[in-house]
């Protein structure tokens, strides 16, 4: 039907009838956390993954599980942006209380306990002591837990060994196993005590793939979640967005080395200076700009295919959880037949 410059018209044969697109690949389903009957102590376990189409291609195949919101709790004082701090000030000295606040008041699906203090450059907390903190948080909340290291490959491994053993059977998400640590040993301890590995790679599809291959030697496919590194809004978001979208697309197209749920470190949004710093009055207040920054980063991650989101701000958590719920439901109560917004008096 479209006109060419020569005045003729052509009609295309397509129609919307029976629009059903099949993708040949499927993301593995990963179980996080374990109940008593499953060998752990959690009130319930959470499933992520299982997609058979890119996100929001509900016309191809609906997503079986919703993205999960996990909130970051740190085991030591770190610089926290003012916009976040004002909501958690009372609990920042106690990871267990902090975790409780996130779960009971702000509705976190999971907690990510970030063991920053084990860093030899910070407090060099011993593996035993770190495991004790994990134990305290496990007792304080009954949601599944992710446990993060400090980024030092040697120290992280030592701590992960202690933590995985202490929490045997809990199906913790161990965050993270990276190519720059002893992958085999890390995978072995995850396997031995029945946990899940978060495979962190440095924003490179091949690196992500190679790491998965290395992990397959030890772990089952259902024990691996991928984190291809998150750059936030304004700090390289386009790289993360496109890398995650490419990984997910390749996976549902049948690439079986990339068929894992994806995790995003949405908290990285707070590294972008526009998220936390004081700016000219027209961009204020930063108490709203900051969480909006994190929200946009989270929603973009979901759009790219993320299943697991690590976040911080209560308003972000609420918005994202609310939208995730709405994304599940088809159909609107309002028909919007009359375009009321045109005459809206605001």
């Amino acid at each position: 039907m479209r006109k060419t410059p020569f005045g003729e018209k052509t009609e295309s044969p397509t129609s919307l009838e029976g629009l059903k697109i099949r993708f040949p690949g499927k993301i593995v389903t990963v179980k996080l956390g374990a109940t008593r009957s499953e060998g752990g102590t959690r009130a319930r376990s959470i499933l992520i993954g299982g997609e058979e189409a890119p996100t929001f291609y509900h016309f191809a195949a609906p997503s079986p599980h919703l993205p999960v919101v996990a909130c970051d709790v740190f085991d030591t004082k770190i610089p926290i942006p003012k916009a976040v701090k004002m909501h958690i000030e009372e609990v920042v000295d106690d990871p267990a209380e902090w975790a409780k606040l996130y779960v009971n008041k702000f509705g976190a699906d999971m907690i990510t306990l970030q063991l920053i203090s084990i860093d030899p450059k910070i407090k060099d907390t011993s593996p035993k002591e770190a495991a004790k903190t994990v134990e305290n948080v496990l007792q304080a909340v009954n949601v599944p837990l992710a446990v993060g290291g400090c980024g030092d490959p040697l120290k992280d491994l030592a701590v992960f060994k202690e933590v995985t053993e202490m929490a045997e059977g809990e199906r913790l998400l161990i965050s993270s196993i990276s190519p720059w640590m002893n992958v085999r040993e890390a995978a072995e301890t995850v396997k031995k005590y029945d946990h899940v590995a978060l495979a962190l790679s440095g924003m490179d599809m091949n690196e992500a793939r190679e790491l998965n291959r290395a992990l397959y030697c030890t772990l089952s496919r259902e024990q691996i979640v991928m984190d291809p590194s998150t750059a936030s809004l304004g700090s390289g978001l386009e790289f993360t967005y496109t890398l995650m979208a490419r990984i997910r697309l390749a996976a549902v197209m049948g690439d079986d080395e990339l068929q894992h749920p994806l995790s995003s470190g949405v908290t990285n949004a707070w590294f972008a200076r526009e998220s936390y710093r004081k700016m000219a009055p027209q961009w204020e207040p930063r108490e709203l700009r900051g969480p909006m920054w994190e929200t946009v980063t989270a929603l973009t991650s979901i759009a790219a295919g993320c299943d697991f989101l690590m976040m911080m701000h209560p308003a972000t958590i609420q918005t994202v959880k609310d939208l995730i719920q709405k994304l599940k439901e088809s159909g609107s109560k309002r028909t919007l037949e009359t375009a009321d917004w045109i005459s809206l008096r605001i």
Binding site: K9, F56, L233, A245, E284, K326, L327
Partner: protein, 488 residues
């Protein structure tokens, strides 16, 4: 189509050879390329347009031109709104995913005014829309259009508001009313300016089609959550000679947003992968719907509107109509748009080497960072916006295009990224040793663990700088200039 299981394919891009075969093949160089083959490659990569080849427009090439035009046109039609400098182009897209090629025209953002605003408030709001700019990585980000809503539904009032806005701003307009009489009253005053008309519906489309065709304006087609009806309406409109269409499958904010995102995805899929020409048009979203049931300047509505706008930007929206002018909500939205519409084919690294800021002397500080473009632009803009901009050296070290954080992780694992050897090489090749009399290198705080090795291999003293370049001015004030003053 009878086949129910459609296979997801890749983009049906023409090959350079297939294009080359249709070109004159005279290598006349009138297009600026050395050969027709080079021009063909540019065409396929969308780095050149067909009309740059002047010979092909001659009568004898008519059939070849016809075929070239068909195989090169974007599956999502490009629609132009407005005239003059501020013209906005939307659509013109070739792909679903940006990594398949690149997104072409960034999502245009229209902010609303109403025909019942008192004149002074109307002018104030227009000025606010025009003045909204933010400089990000050396680019100015702003808003693109003004949407005039007829809340009065009174032709005279709409005409008056349209006149006032058109006289006070050069931004292209979106005229919003479902009543053809109201639309006509406004449109007559801006007839030569190609405003976008919002909107044709199943009830008013004949009248709207006549207006669009008489005044040569692009037209939005609005059909709530029914793509089949939308498709049959675009067919009717095209038969009525309205070709510049924009599709609005209707934005449901929150409640029903799954339907909205599904519709947006299907529209993009069916145009890019299946070449459906009746749905191959730019898509309009209306996050302003989030204001339904909210008071004026409500934080909750602003928040919701910005969140919905972000989701629609990630879902192929070509145009968004919004209400808020709050910087805290719009800034994340315009930066998201900028991020996703950057060309992924352009390298993410800048040239390594020495950058000189202002007129440094032999006592000026020497710092280093990686050549990942985002890192480089962040650090250089921090330097430029601070008092140290007139006197320092920045050594840009090849980190294989990764940022400092990743470079640090890789360095500690001895996996490339940034190496001490690379730093030593960068120092010696830059000639900075002849420019300063000190031998102190300020290193990124995140690479603190490389201090000893750097000192051993380069013979320079490594001073550990801040982890965040925003703190450089303060750092230099405390750790550099004071010492320089003391020692000199």
């Amino acid at each position: 189509m009878t086949n129910n299981d459609r296979k997801p394919g890749t983009r049906n891009a023409p090959s350079p050879v297939s294009i080359y075969k249709l070109l004159p093949r005279t290598n006349c160089q009138k297009c600026g390329q050395k050969t027709c083959m080079a021009f063909a490659s540019k065409l396929v990569n969308r780095e050149a347009t067909l009309d740059e080849c002047t010979p092909i427009l001659e009568k004898s090439y008519e059939e070849a031109y016809r075929q070239l035009w068909k195989s090169l046109r974007p599956p999502v039609r490009q629609v132009v709104i407005g005239t003059g400098d501020k013209t906005v182009k939307i659509g013109g897209e070739f792909v679903i995913y940006r990594h398949e090629l690149a997104y072409i025209n960034p999502t245009a953002i229209a902010i609303d005014v109403t025909d019942e605003l008192p004149c002074d408030q109307l002018l104030k709001r227009v000025k606010q829309i025009e003045d909204f700019t933010y400089t990000y990585l050396g680019r100015k980000l702003g808003l693109d259009l003004i949407a005039i809503r007829s809340t009065s539904n009174d032709p005279a009032k709409f005409a008056e508001a349209t006149r006032v806005v058109a006289e006070s701003s050069a931004l292209p307009l979106v005229l919003c009313s479902l009543d053809p009489k109201v639309m006509k009253a406004g449109l007559e005053l801006v007839s030569g300016k190609r405003p976008l008309l919002y909107a044709a519906t199943k009830d008013n489309w004949k009248d709207m089609a006549e207006l669009a065709s008489t005044y040569k304006c692009p037209l939005v087609v609005r059909v709530p959550n029914d793509l089949k009806l939308l498709r049959s309406l675009t067919k009717d409109l095209m038969s009525a000679d309205v070709d510049d269409l924009v599709l609005d499958p209707v934005t449901y904010p929150y409640e029903g947003i799954q339907d909205t995102l599904r519709n947006f995805s299907i529209l993009r899929w069916i145009s890019c992968k299946e070449g459906d020409e009746l749905l191959g048009f730019p898509i309009a979203g209306t996050p302003i719907e989030a204001w339904e049931g909210h008071e004026r300047s409500s934080e909750a509505a602003t928040w919701k509107e910005a969140a919905v706008a972000s989701l629609l930007i990630t879902h192929y929206a070509s145009l968004l109509i919004m209400h808020t002018l709050d910087g805290w909500a719009l800034l994340p939205v315009v930066i998201l748009r900028q991020n996703l519409y950057t060309d992924p084919r352009k390298p993410a690294a800048v040239e390594p080497g020495l950058r000189i800021f202002g007129e440094p002397d032999e006592n000026s500080p020497v710092m280093f960072t990686t050549n990942f473009s985002l890192t480089y632009f962040t650090v250089s803009s921090d330097i430029e916006s601070s008092p140290i901009s007139n006197r320092c050296y920045l050594l840009v070290v090849d980190s294989e295009g990764v940022g400092v954080r990743t470079a640090a992780a890789r360095a500690s694992a001895r996996k490339g990224g940034i190496t001490v050897e690379g730093i030593a090489k960068a120092i010696s090749e830059s000639g900075v040793e002849q420019k300063v009399k000190h031998k102190t290198l300020i290193i990124p705080g995140l690479l603190a663990n490389l201090k000893d090795e750097i000192e051993k291999l380069t013979g320079w003293k490594a001073l550990i700088g801040p982890s965040n370049s925003a703190e450089l001015p303060k750092f230099l004030e405390e750790h550099w200039y004071k010492n320089v003053q003391e020692s000199s």
